[in-house]
């Protein structure tokens, strides 16, 4: 051992042991960098660094028309692309006071729920893999494939389908749409209990997840943690209930609330939401009314000058769109309040004091999608 190396060994425990998790790390689900300060295996504090894939979507929106914005919103939270589209569409429809046909509302709601299911399935795969259960990943993806096939058949693309347009839909759904959804519901009702047997009930998993990452209701509200992560802390934040859009006021469903406030509570919320989504789908799929797939819109959409605000519930929480219009075909200022942005920054609060392995579980339970943070 050379002289230089010996001098590098620091004496004393006061020194902070700083580790970078990410941007190139298997469990940060994207290019997120967590600067973690460790003491032994325990996290003293952590510092998220974002911006590795900042694309300036808000700036780009100022130069393009409302129809064109749709394809950009797909790329924020790519796992709930449809809900993101819907938010922009509804802002435009609100501003122009266009009444969209009933059929569109039904189809949009069905797609919302399918998208939510697909997103939760992917979260389940990734969460299992974060905790080291590698098989969950393949089972989840196997079942998600069925939903993506439905999307592909109707819209031609599997992930980023840009299917909404202000006033309605791009084109009508495929004739097989209802049948395939019914097949999928039947299939997935059989597979979902397997998820529980494989992971939820598992004693190792429960010990890993219970009591980890405690986030009180006050913390959740203060940090604006919404979606299933917030509802795991008993924070009632489901926009589908608070301000119903689509046909959410016509279907029966429960807002899932858990009081556990820990990683396991957030896990249970998402699992229960999958069942809820299935039941919403069942209620809607047979009742799609006939009619147009789009309302009459002018080819160039110009919003009257003013400010518009609309919220939707994506798979990860509350997406708010705030538009300032000056009467042109482009928005003057477009602001997306994305759920993951708020969900990420609670990490330091809820992960400090737990082990490094728990940190991974906590970040998995928050279900972060990094492009949504960076926009």
């Amino acid at each position: 051992m050379s002289e230089e190396i010996i001098q590098d060994v620091i004496i004393g425990e006061s020194e902070d042991y700083i580790i970078n998790l990410g941007p190139q790390h298997p469990s940060t689900h994207g290019v997120l960098r967590l600067e973690v300060c460790l003491k032994g295996e325990t996290v003293k504090y952590l510092n998220p660094h974002v911006g590795y894939i900042h694309r300036g979507i808000e700036k780009m929106c100022e130069a393009i028309t409302y129809q064109q914005i749709i394809h950009l919103t797909d790329r924020m939270d790519y796992l709930s692309a449809h809900m993101n589209n819907e938010a922009v569409c509804m802002v435009v429809e609100d501003a122009l006071q266009v009444e969209v046909p009933e059929r569109v509302k039904y189809i949009r709601t069905i797609l919302d729920e399918l998208n939510r299911l697909a997103s939760h399935q992917l979260w389940w795969c990734a969460f299992g893999m974060d905790l080291g259960a590698l098989t969950t990943f393949f089972y989840g993806l196997r079942d998600r494939e069925h939903i993506l096939d439905i999307f592909e058949e109707s819209f031609g693309s599997r992930l980023l389908h840009s299917f909404n347009t202000p006033g309605g839909l791009m084109h009508d759904v495929h004739p097989n749409f209802q049948k395939r959804i019914k097949d999928f519901i039947k299939y997935f009702r059989e597979k979902l209990p397997e998820y529980d047997q494989l992971l939820t009930g598992n004693i190792i998993f429960q010990n890993r997840a219970k009591g980890i990452g405690y986030m009180s209701k006050e913390t959740a509200i203060g940090y604006g943690v919404t979606g299933p992560s917030g509802r795991g802390s008993n924070f009632s934040c489901d926009i589908r209930k608070i301000a119903p859009y689509g046909v959410y006021d016509k279907v029966q469903f429960n807002e899932i609330l858990e009081t556990g406030c820990d990683t396991f509570a957030r896990y249970k919320v998402r699992m229960a939401e999958m069942w809820e989504s299935l039941s919403i789908l069942e209620q809607l799929v047979d009742n799609i009314p006939e009619g147009d797939f789009t309302a009459k819109m002018k080819p160039v959409v110009k919003l009257p000058a003013g400010e518009y605000f609309r919220r939707v519930e994506t798979a990860r929480g509350e997406l708010a769109v705030y538009v300032v219009s000056d009467g042109n075909k482009n928005p003057y200022r477009m602001r997306f309040r994305t759920p993951n942005f708020s969900n990420l920054f609670v990490m330091n609060e809820i992960a400090s004091g737990y082990k490094i392995a728990d940190l991974i579980a906590i970040s998995g339970s928050l279900d972060l999608v990094i492009p949504d943070i960076d926009r």
Binding site: M1, E4, I5, D8, Y17, I19, H25, P26, S27, E41, G128, M129, D130, L131, G132, A133, L134, T135, F137, F138, Y139, R142, L198, L199, N202, I204, F205, N207, R208, K355, I356, A357, D358, I360
Partner: protein
């Protein structure tokens, strides 16, 4: 007794006799050493490659996939292709690492697993070295690989590696106790630590059946503890890829990485073989009491086939564990050992001693 099982000592004896006819005794010893070395080298490499292939296939089928299927029929030479690829990969030196220890670590892990191979009884009469403390020897040598892992993690000068090595140190060291105590159970039954004697003692039934419930408990503890000792899932904290990217071998590249990988799989083989030998009768065929006819039929299956069947049975169980369970956390891991497995196995030893004292075992 099972006299009609083919004894490999006849084969080795005739080879020895043939060689003695050709050359002087010094040369005979030398040739035999070279032969044994070559045979074990071949066995080691083939087993390692096959185990990697097996694991990929097993996990693929569990996960509804096909697994490797492009290189050769059913992808059977996929691992060889991978090995060649790793051989041709650049060995990246790490700045500010400790070069001596950094290069030494792969040697240590391979030597440890290779030495343990020497004492395993593969078939009747086929055993390189039959120690009178065989159980103890295999246990000791295979647990030495923790030194290699610690050195690897420490010398890399990477934070992930260091944490991985530390974890692995605490983990292997703890589970060593349970492995020892569960093996001790059978030593008490047999009254010998020699592996060949232990196998012979199971001629009329394997210890897992003969030793009542305590032997079964020992077997389960052995399975859990040895899975932990070889750093496999769900105890693969040292290389938890979702936390530490690759743990102690993060900085190793090319063939050096391949050796850690190989050693991990060979350690799996060694503990499975040890478990099969001690609990499941090793190369001893499946015999039931005095059913002469049945036992006779069983004897026709070659002893090596019995040994490898049992070993791969245990290997499959260990793989099944890995591809089902999530990973434990370091404190849960140590709690499991110190607060559950250790007291249970201590109590279990007393129970076994009592059974032996009363002569209740068969």
């Amino acid at each position: 007794m099972s006299s009609n099982i083919y004894d490999f000592s006849k084969l080795t004896g005739s080879v020895h006799a043939w060689l003695s006819g050709l050359m002087s005794s010094g040369w005979v010893t030398f040739t035999e050493l070279v032969l044994v070395g070559l045979v074990f080298l071949l066995l080691y490499a083939l087993l390692g490659l096959f185990l990697v292939y097996l694991e990929r296939k097993v996990c693929a089928i569990i996960q509804n996939r096909i697994g490797p299927n492009r290189v050769g029929k059913w992808g059977i030479i996929q691992t060889i292709a991978d090995l060649v690829k790793l051989l041709l990969k650049e060995l990246i030196p790490i700045r500010k690492s400790d070069p001596l220890l950094f290069n030494l670590a792969p040697f240590i892990v391979i030597i440890c697993s290779f030495l343990a191979m020497a004492a395993l009884p593969y078939a009747k009469g086929l055993q390189a070295i039959d120690f009178n403390i065989g159980v103890f020897y295999v246990m000791a040598v295979s647990s030495l690989s923790v030194v290699g892992i610690l050195i690897a993690g420490w010398s890399s000068n990477s934070k992930y590696s260091l944490i991985g090595a530390m974890r692995s140190g605490a983990q292997i060291v703890s589970y060593e106790l349970s492995v020892g105590l569960s093996l001790l159970a059978i030593v008490v039954f047999t009254g010998s630590m020699q592996l060949s004697t232990i196998v012979e003692s199971q001629a009329n039934g394997w210890w897992i059946f003969k030793g009542h419930i305590p032997a079964f408990i020992s077997f389960v503890i052995f399975l859990i503890a040895s899975t932990a000792e070889i750093n496999r899932g769900p105890f693969d904290l040292a290389e938890a890829e979702s936390e530490l990217t690759a743990g102690f071998h993060t900085e190793y590249s090319g063939i050096k990485f391949a050796f850690f990988f190989l050693a991990e799989y060979m350690n799996m083989f060694i503990v499975s073989a040890l478990g099969a030998t001690v609990f499941l009768g090793g190369w001893m065929p499946f015999h039931i009491g005095n059913w002469e006819g049945f036992n006779h039929i069983m004897d026709f299956i070659p002893s090596a086939v019995w040994f490898f069947t049992k070993t791969f049975f245990i290997i499959l169980i260990i793989m099944w564990f890995k591809w089902t369970f999530p990973r434990l956390r370091i404190d849960q891991l140590l709690t499991l050992e110190w607060k559950y497995l250790l007291p249970i196995s201590l109590f279990n030893i007393v129970l076994i001693a009592f059974i032996v004292l009363m002569g209740w075992h068969f």
